[in-house]
């Protein structure tokens, strides 16, 4: 078993062609004849994910241009920034950090550490979600509703769309946990599963910082 684990060491760095299942590590059918083309250059999963992040970025660029146009309106009333949002931001960034620690624990093949830090990631992520709902409640109590004025409309809409993407991320996270269950965390694909998810999760952290800056400091 020890050698087995050593073989699986550092799978993040293993060239794609050496992975089981052909150059892509997945895909429907491989007869071992697909090596050597441009396909072996990099991971299709990572590429597809970045393409998706590109399309999400364009969505927020669209919202940003709408925001810039709309804030010139005479009915624009500034929204107060609840201090809780700072806490939420910190919590989300910490969850990203915890995810990075889990990746290191996995590479060190420390199963216990991996579980602890993945648990921490999940906990911090849930805290962020709860915190966002609480921030909405605070603002509602202050009389700022979705339709009150354009600034509050944008806040609710953008934080809501961000939260929707985050909810998708949490579904994905539960699939990741399922994939890494038991001894599978040490399998060659484990590092890939985790690094794909980490890319998305860090992106969501940065996206939230962007939304915060856009809405309250722009």
């Amino acid at each position: 078993m020890a050698t087995e684990i050593l073989d699986a060491r550092g799978p993040d760095r293993v060239p794609l062609v050496e992975r089981p299942g052909g150059p892509t590590g997945r895909g429907p059918i491989r007869h071992g004849d697909d090596g050597g083309g441009p396909s072996a250059a990099f991971d299709p999963g990572q590429f597809g994910l970045w393409a998706f992040l590109g399309t999400v970025t364009m969505l927020f660029i669209g919202f940003t241009s709408a925001y810039i146009v709309r804030r010139t309106g005479a009915d624009w009333r500034p929204l107060p920034l609840p201090a809780l949002l700072w806490v939420n931001t910190g919590v989300l960034l910490l969850s990203s950090a915890a995810l990075e620690v889990s990746r290191r624990r996995r590479r060190a093949l420390d199963l216990r550490g991996l579980r602890v830090w993945l648990g921490a990631t999940a906990l911090l992520a849930s805290l962020f979600v709860a915190g966002q709902f609480q921030a909405w409640r605070l603002l509602r109590a202050l009389g700022f509703f979705l339709s009150s004025n354009p600034h509050s409309s944008f806040f609710y809409m953008l934080s809501g769309v961000h939260l929707l993407h985050l909810a998708g991320g949490l579904v994905w996270f539960s699939l990741v946990l399922f994939r890494l269950r038991g001894a599978r965390y040490a399998a060659p694909g484990g590092g890939r599963v985790l690094s794909l998810f980490a890319t998305y999760w860090h992106f969501l952290g940065l996206l939230w910082v962007y939304v915060l800056v856009l809405i309250f400091f722009f």
């Binding site: 895909g27 590429f47 590109g54 146009v69 005479a74 339709s147 409309s153």
Partner: protein
Amino acid sequence: MEGEERMAHTEAHAAEAHAHDHAPTAFIWKYVFSKDHKVIGIQYYVTAMLMALIAGLLAMLIRVQLAWPEVNWGIIGKLLPMGFQGGDGQPYVMNPEFYAMLFTMHGTIMVFFVLSTAPVSGFGNLLIPLQVGARDMAFPFLNGLSFWTFFCGCVTILTSFFVGAGAAAGGWTSYPPLSALRGAVPGSQIGQTFWIIAMVFFISSFTMGGLNFVTTIINLRTKGLSLFRMPLTLWSMFLVAILGLLSFPALTGASLMLLLDRHFGTSFFLPTGLVLNNAPMVGANGQFIHQGGSPLLWQHLFWFLGHPEVYILMLPALGFTSDLLTTFCRKALFGYKAMVGAMLAISGLSFIVWGHHMFVSGMSPYLAMAFAVGTILIAVPSAVKVFNWLATLWRSRIQYKTPMLWAMGVVSLFISGGLSGVWLGQSAPDIQLHDTFFVVAHFHLIMAGAALFGVFGATAYWFPKMFGRMMNDTLGKWHFWFTFVTYYGTFFPMHYIGLAGHMRRIYDPYQYEFLKSLQPLNHFITISALILGASQVIFFVNFFWSAFKGEKATENPWNANGLEWTTASPPPHGNWPGAVPEVHRWPYEYSNPDAPKDFVMQHEPPLAVESGH
């Protein structure tokens, strides 16, 4: 314990590999919830075909109304009580609101659910893995999910006809405030909400497809297939996917804002001081409910998608055309790199010209100038494409097979539609011609027509790879000539009535004295359109008859060069029974005098003369 776990793991892995190596056999996994790109491509294609049938019938109703607004609709009026008044001895007359719904839904269904779907999602899925030399798309599950998401979109948009007061009626562009105020027109009620939901389904589906397209083309090309050895069909699919990924999010965002405006009282697009049916829209406190929104903001966001979107429709047709022309001219494509460059230029420019749809919105003339210059620039790569096609045709021995006729039809429509684009792209003529039938003529020729003809050509050409059979060439030619003549007969005279001032979205043009003289021409257009619609029956008959009873196709019936012609017709699950072919050259090696035959396929080993270089 560990050993057991490992054993279980290995077994699971083996089972997985086993499942991957063999095609699914149960009907539901093989043909319904399939992950095979060829099945998904055909699913997309056939669904789009049925949607085209519905949208085409809507167009027929529009045309009859425009030619004979006073006509008694008789049995049709009886069958569609939502759209007609009359009965009990009175003649059936179309409702104006129903007319608005007809052109809205015709446009929406045709643009998104037919002409974005059949060439891109249909042929893209069918052809990309075959042409890049891959076993399947990069993410087969996502691909299947994409189709069923699209299917939900189709169901939603079709259901919208039967909910509340009927489907959306604010034009395919859904400009607010018409689309944002539920009381504005009957179609602005729940029908418009369904429109928005259908768009969200469509965009999600198109995004999943686009991710698959770019990843497959970038990552799964077979050995030797460098980017500059790709057939232009692949190039067009690659660019279309990028356009979709980068432009559709603008409509996603705008649709969400429109939904919030409609149902949650926000004012993104709704300005202060709205008066609806002579009643000011004020709340209980005497203030206007909606304050300060900008209807123009929607137009900017919509057209930021909308302009790349029309190239999403058109680019695949341009790619098909290049591939078809070379095959049936038996000649190398003239200026391959210039063709790729032209497509790149058209795609790039498509992102900075959206304002030319908004010249009459009161924009600064300087801004209009900037948009006009960008638009006119598109004429340059377009002219490069036309020149290269003509140079490819020049002095070749053309084989007039059905696919070739359609490809030449695309060239023809691209020229005639493109020329009026140069008029409309400049703000001065556009301000005169905006919202007239001149615009209708322009985009039906270049965008709708080129895309449609491209799809018909591709269908006849790649039919063997869909069903393993050939389409009937005689029926195909009849279909082509009827369609070609009546297509021009329908849309060419629209230039004239547009110049004469016939507005675009009008229920009864003859309420205006100055349009009365155009009625005979509208009769001609409508008769052409009805024949055009009826001739599509030939296509449907040919399609379904050939799919089941057509002549069996060989591996490479057209003596073409692409990788898709190196495998059986239809290709088996996994596309090649043996190894995936390697590529040694571009796909346009026709009539090389040093080669033993008049075509050298992409996978054939280098010729003596080639390796000598």
